[in-house]
Assembly symmetry: C2
Homo-oligomer: 128 residues x 2
């Protein structure tokens, strides 16, 4: 089960940083929409992105999720990408995220296949 | 010279994530106050923190700075810690940051010597 503080931050439309590692071990980071089930963090990206190439080679990631109106409250998750899901389930998941964050259908550009990164936490740190 | 978009985000009391690498290459991240001069990002931490131990062994870092009210606008900096300053200058810098972010003297707990991490950007990515 995820920490309740983590689930609360995810469900409240907060944003996350996702750090992955390039082939030479350099940390690369982006700000992302974030979702979870009761055991994993879920991030929706595209297979053409560097972050997807990175986790395909090295599944270690770091995710920070902070309270939009109070970034002194945040959760750090060190974890591992344990599953990647493509196809219609990933496309549907993007639409769920768009509705959650914007209240509308996804209005961005999809350049390649969408993919859900399922992240299993190894260590969770809650900061207040 | 830093990118003007980066300097603007730093000067507008926005928050930053700092990712460092542990001895085994695992990314570790925290949300931090952020400052800059015209060539470097400046982060104030303590010598007893894991992030300080990490950069002492591996100077590679990643910094994200996002607009508080619009996290779709952010800057990613991949860089290297090129200088670390301790002593009264670091203590004074903490007070400058506290005044910038809170309008008051620093009210937190200082557990060990403060240190300024001077980060030289190697790659800057502006996202809108």
């Amino acid at each position: 089960m995820l920490d309740p503080a983590l689930e609360a931050l995810v469900h409240d439309k907060n944003f996350a940083s996702l750090t992955t590692l390039t082939a030479d071990g350099t940390p690369q980071a982006s700000i992302m929409w974030i979702d979870c089930d009761h055991e994993h963090l879920l991030i929706n990206t595209e297979v053409a992105r560097a972050k997807f190439r990175n986790v395909s080679h090295n599944p270690q990631v770091n995710v920070l999720i902070w309270e939009r109106t109070n970034p002194y409250h945040y959760v750090e998750v060190r974890g591992v990408v344990t599953s990647m899901t493509r196809g219609s389930r990933a496309a549907d998941h993007l639409e769920e995220l768009a509705r959650k964050y914007t209240g509308q259908a996804f209005a961005g550009t999809v350049e390649s296949d969408r993919v859900i990164l399922e992240i299993t936490p190894k260590r969770i740190r809650v900061v207040d």
